[in-house]
């Protein structure tokens, strides 16, 4: 049963209960469902948790993190705002549900025997998923990470190292390290993306002359201090480290470095010219 697995929220972590309902909804969720079957829903369930989460993700994708308000989501569903609170304990919980839902977006590959390729695939998939939902980076800060979909992904990841004779500790360190790198990379990339769109908006309001003047003044000021030789060189070379074209290769570069280091450590010889 697929639905069986979907409820594997780590106890305590899932919701911050503000009232009794949290416990009912989470820790004793199965029990709830049993009762619901005795007493089936009467009105063909106009609203459901999954619907609410889906609507919230739609809104977030289309209008950004700021647009995710309970009122906005309710409007999307033609429901009263407070109706959402029957299915969801708090906005905080809804965000958790959203994060876990998109975690399952991409399929993680079956172990192929080549751990390095599998890990690369997963890393790229994670990155792709995060890029499709950039609002994740707004919500992810400092919130307990584990929902059932994440659990499944961790399980898969650990499976890639099965035949290599690693102890569990090593396998876990490697998994989290890769995940760590991907998170950091996407965080940076989302920041850069936001910078760009913001800059473009601002630039559009200026004339060409003003634009050059402002930029010129800035580079001149950097140069004038004499304390930033590398940055000055960078700017005069016109090299933009954050340009979209370089982003993919930068991601792959870091990932390759990391995987090389890991490979060396687990006794695998790094594939010399991989990628």
């Amino acid at each position: 049963m697929d639905a069986e697995d979907e409820d594997l929220w780590v106890p305590f972590l899932a919701a911050r209960p503000r009232d009794r309902r949290a416990e009912r909804l989470r820790v004793h969720l199965r029990e709830d469902e049993r009762r619901a079957q005795r007493h089936p829903p009467r009105r063909a369930a106009a609203l459901s948790r999954d619907q609410i989460v889906a609507a919230a993700i739609m809104v977030a994708d289309a209008e950004g993190a700021d647009a995710v308000t309970m009122r906005r989501i309710a409007r999307e569903l033609n429901a009263g705002t407070m109706s959402l609170y029957w299915h969801v304990v708090s906005k905080e919980e809804l965000l958790d549900l959203m994060l876990d839902a998109v975690q399952g977006d991409r399929e993680t590959p079956e172990p192929s025997g080549d751990w390095r390729r599998d890990v690369q695939d997963v890393a790229r998939a994670m990155r792709g998923s995060l890029h499709e939902h950039p609002w994740m980076m707004d919500f992810i800060g400092g919130r307990p990470p584990v929902g059932p979909k994440s659990l499944r992904n961790v399980e898969r990841m650990l499976g890639y190292f099965d035949g290599l004779g690693l102890d569990m500790r090593m396998a876990i360190d490697i998994s989290t390290t890769v995940g760590t790198y991907v998170m950091g990379a996407v965080l940076r990339e989302v920041q850069e993306h936001n910078s760009e769109t913001f800059m473009e908006q601002t630039l559009a309001e200026l004339t060409e002359a003003e634009r050059e003047k402002v930029i010129g003044e800035f580079t001149e000021r950097v140069r004038a201090t004499g304390r930033y030789p590398h940055l000055a060189e960078l700017m005069s070379a016109g090299y933009d480290p954050d340009a979209a074209e370089t982003r993919d290769s930068r991601f792959e570069f870091g990932l390759d470095c990391l995987l090389d280091g890991i490979a060396a450590r687990i006794g695998d010889h790094p594939s010399p010219g991989s990628r």
Copy 2:
């Protein structure tokens, strides 16, 4: 002049101007200061940007990200809420200023000639700084990153690779990759920390028996599915990958892997048993 460097905000990026003042405060800040010297502040400046930023950081450190509200900060300074808005265009700008301010907390080491050690030091310093201000992770999501302090740090970082004959592109990729890893690591660690404190609070409300029952039921459910052999092994081994003791070594592990990969790539032979 130290103060000279402090104003090197990348133009456009710094503030999202909601009205004209943004431009004045940022792009033409120097001009503003010149005028201010003609017309010096009359009341011995009861309030200043730096004070406001410092107060905001204090509040954030002591009470967490949620406590950072304009009213709270004003109260801290015995000022009216709206007085802050003379010195700061918006809360958003204040957050940018806070982030950049803590960026300069730790001193980055002078280049020692051993790039690897320098980079390690910087990475550890970044991590330490982020841990002292865990609210950073709440604010950092999807916001333009560059203030003057960050610029200085990038400059320093680039300097570590000076004698190695790398081209600029390589040096930049390496710098950002290391930064990326650190950000990701701290993001994860802050999440884990929050999970823990939350779990402790919840656990404190339960009796020992309830606690074991809930945990036991969960592990039983995970095992019952048969789809999570690695996780089941993990849980029955009682190994907690997020335990505080393992966190430092995990960070160093990932960092070492990364640096090994980088070293190999720039023709340096990895120090075999480093740390």
